[in-house]
Amino acid sequence: MCLVKGGMGIVAGPVLYSANPWFAMEVANKYRKGTFFAWVCEYFDSSATAAVSAGSFIAPSSNPRKIYEDLLYEYYAQEEHSRVIKAHKKTFRRLAKKWLADGELTKDQHDEIVASVGAPSWRIWKPVLYVIPRVGIDPSRIIKVPRADRAGYGPEYQIVDLKAHEFDVVDLTALVRNI
């Protein structure tokens, strides 16, 4: 299917991509009954899409490939001042409090998440790529991110209740460039 709206080619991509730290997967598996949150994109590398493609309007900061590569670089370099990793740590601490307050976590589980992000582990920040086939996911679960929350015009989506059997996890360490 190819629709043209407002001069931008929009093709419903058959696959969605989301780059995340390994710890996000760990938390979903161990503390959230296998329910994953994923900020997804129809393009693995939006910078490599054709100029007329919707992908070309996705901001670099939302490009799964760039997110993956940046995190991989900082993971490999053990970059102690990494802004990305610091931001992830803060987010997980906040999410742990949120889940504790809404009864999803016990205090022990909350403390384990907080202790894990506070420990000097680098492994937990290694990036992984979720490859999510659209088939089988009800379209109502793929929520378009409002324009105000997107850094570019290109489409981005969120899935808040992704299950482990609905996607594959790929380690691109051996393939990505410039690392």
Partner: protein, 303 residues
């Protein structure tokens, strides 16, 4: 602030956390208002923080938002009892959930003796495999009759300049607090062992033992791989006879003490023709410089 004082500490901390998260999004799909009038309370909380920090109402720069969020985090932290990270990490270690690069790795002398001059390189391979595995499997602590306890297995593939010399490193160790005692470390070469059907580290260990096994008898059964056994192997080494030249077999296993039944069992017992395995290392081994993968150092503290 008065909005927070009416809430119990956990709920107030949750509200502050949700507010901090919301600063960076107009609307995140998993953001929910959990208490009455939460949207307005969040606005008041943010306004109050801006006043306290001297940040203008119209300042939405990233740095300003981060300061506000950090301020809310501090408030939330004061509301909750402070977590003891060591106790939490100990629980993770006990369950096998500790991020594996946090383990202090100790390799037992038998492994060093077997590897001889190869030990230094293998030690780096072992450490890299534990710190950055591609697959891992953990047993324990709940002692099941049919399962080993407190044992972790780690697997990682290493690439070389010559694909036929690529190998999978399999490391098996026993967890004890933050320590991982490595009892077994084997290179598995897919070029000579069919690993296609092995979907777990234990399956890989079995495939390895099938290739290099030296028959022993344990619990009245003959074999070279025993997932669990009621008794312990009588020896750690034995000479294989008859062979053209003397060959040594190494029996490696984990001692499992069942305190309630007051018995000691063994698990993941493998009896390996050590000479045949070392011959493979000699034949297919590559120098460090010919490996395409970086080794992973122990994490530096304090990041």
């Amino acid at each position: 602030m008065s909005d927070l004082e009416t809430l119990e500490p956990k709920a107030a901390a949750g509200l502050l956390a949700r507010t901090a998260l919301s600063l960076f999004y107009k609307r995140r799909a998993d953001d929910e208002y959990l208490i009455a009038d939460e949207a307005n309370i969040r606005e008041r909380v943010i306004r109050h923080a801006r006043e306290q920090l001297g940040i203008a109402e119209d300042n939405y720069e990233q740095e300003a938002l981060e300061k506000i969020a950090d301020h809310l985090d501090q408030q939330a932290d004061r509301l909750l009892s402070e977590p003891d990270p060591m106790i939490a990490l100990k629980r993770l270690a006990e369950r096998g959930d500790l991020p594996s690069d946090l383990y202090e790795i100790e390799i037992i002398p038998n492994v060093r003796t077997m590897l001889g001059r190869r030990f230094d390189l293998e030690k780096q391979l072992i450490e890299t495999t534990v710190r950055a595995p591609t697959q891992e499997q953990h047993y324990g602590p709940a002692r099941e009759v049919h399962e080993p306890a407190m044992i972790s297995l780690f697997v990682r593939r290493f690439r070389t300049r010559w694909p036929l010399r690529d190998f999978i490193m399999l490391v098996a160790g026993e967890r004890n607090g933050f320590k991982l005692g490595v009892h077994q470390a084997w290179r598995i070469y897919p070029a000579i062992i069919n690993v296609a059907a092995a979907d777990s580290p234990v399956e890989l260990l079995k495939k390895f033992a099938d290739k290099y096994g030296a028959e022993i008898e344990l619990d009245g059964k003959r074999g070279h791989f025993f997932f669990l056994a009621d008794s312990l192997p009588a020896v750690s080494y034995f000479q294989i006879v008859p062979t053209k030249k003397p060959q040594i077999a190494l029996i490696s296993f984990f001692r499992q003490i069942d305190r309630s039944a007051k018995v000691t069992r063994s698990s993941l017992v493998v009896s390996i023709n050590q000479d045949r395995y070392l011959d493979t290392l000699e034949e297919l081994g590559v120098k460090r410089d010919d490996s395409l993968d970086k080794f992973v150092d122990a994490p530096r503290a304090g990041h």
